[in-house]
Symmetry: C3
Subunit: 208 residues, 3 copies
């Protein structure tokens, strides 16, 4: 049952990540193909990197195309001028909703990515599991930024990537005590809380 | 016999892609090493991404180095001032020939990439086969643009990537009815016709 | 015994590469997370690309996290203002030491990368072994430059990548005559000598 809940969280994240990615494409004056690729990359790019590192080929994103296709459809909807107009007139509420959806997606992608290390590698070390968790959470956005000719956003400001890393560590610890399902729910909760607190209080990391 | 024809198409494409890639390196004032890497990346980079996604390692580009070495030699020839002078004096004819060669290469890379999904994965879904087809066709050029510090050309204008996607879809449909060889020839034809029509009539995709 | 020597060379290289990577992050005004990622990418990114190409998953960098963790700790030390102040007051000596450490690392990464092709693929062709050698040596730095929004340094100037390529070729030739251990030591020596001569005499490659 809780696994289904995680699937719902994943789909919420897929939509939120695709919206964020397609908006970067629109800002960059890309055409509809570029916008759809950026939306899809943001949503499934992190999972593809994770699966290549774990040797799981073809990556889940290609075996179960529901995520990629959801991201493409989302990007095409964002492309519609009527949709963007509506959003511009409801900017404030829109931002809050998107931030929550993005946080849920970041959490779901993180715990699923960390769990993938345990599924694919016998007795993985924590470094690998935290990497696969965090890269599933933030790798798609970093890849999108590189494709858009930008330095990845997560390197420059905000606490964003750290929320994913801390959530992945929490998942790895809790998993041994509470089992996969409960650890996933709690891992998502850790990421959501940290990411929303970071946004509210504008947490930033030290810079030189 | 028709497979040999596809190999000839591939070599034509390898040369055309390497020329395009090394010209980007020259424009960017790279040295001869950078120019050769960009020429090679444009020619074989898409196939390498495809093989990593399909779990075929080492990728074909390394097992059969004929493509990569052809691309490197092509790039070194393009580097020669005498060659570039000759081209500048025959600009118009040169552009037409290169466009045709590039279209043939795009077609050959697309159908070979789509077929690779059928070779490597039992009963692949269409999304995977279209992805491996299109990424073989346009992935090398996108990787080259990223390495050159540019937003991938295919995201910003022209119908280019769509010709590859439509060709891959056509190949996947025709393959079941006509067999691999005939479907490959027809798939290449679809891509070549679409890519040349798009260039002639300056087809573009909608932008926001 | 000589293998242990190579491990020492690798660790020297890991530190030198992490310093170079984190300095790019500092120049780009990244936060501490971005700086650590750039340091780590410079040190282990080339090896990860090599292992993905060779189908060795998870890559060594994740199975034996000592390299990545050393790179992260190095980056955090470079981040400290006191450390950077000290370096600024000893600029000249620092540059010489770093150049030697970087040269040793380039050599060690190159021969280990070339040897990985022989370990993972039965009877690999020279093109593959030279590629895996050179990409282990210079791929991390190229990836770092892409993540920092720069055209990879190795494409634009200096002899750097050629030292790695020549070292990898030398290793592949010597390996059959002298055995792995001695060939590794000599391969490292070739790279170190070429890289230091190139720096001293400002060797550059031809440009258009």
């Amino acid at each position: 049952m809780d696994i289904d809940l995680i699937f719902i969280f994943e789909m919420i994240g897929t939509v939120a990540f695709a919206v964020a990615g397609s908006l970067v494409g629109i800002l960059k004056k890309m055409d509809i193909f570029g916008i759809a690729v950026l939306g899809m990359t943001t949503a499934v790019g992190g999972g593809i990197i994770r699966d290549l590192v774990l040797g799981r080929t073809p990556p889940v994103a290609f075996v179960r195309p529901v995520y990629a296709l959801t991201a493409i459809v989302t990007s095409l909807i964002v492309f519609l001028p009527a949709v963007r107009n509506f959003v511009e007139h409801h900017q404030k509420g829109y931002e809050g909703v998107m931030r929550l959806m993005d946080a849920i997606g970041l959490g779901a992608f993180t715990v699923i990515g960390a769990e993938a290390a345990f599924t694919c590698v016998p007795d993985p070390n924590v470094f690998l599991a935290v990497f696969t968790g965090a890269v599933t959470g933030v790798g798609g956005g970093a890849l999108r930024d590189v494709l858009a000719g930008e330095v990845p956003y997560i390197f420059v400001k905000h606490f964003y990537a750290c929320a994913s890393i801390i959530g992945a560590i929490a998942y790895c610890i809790l998993r041994g005590f509470l089992g996969i399902e409960l650890a996933m729910i709690l891992g998502v909760a850790v990421v959501v809380v940290l990411r929303l607190l970071a946004a509210k209080y504008r947490w930033t990391l030290p810079r030189p």
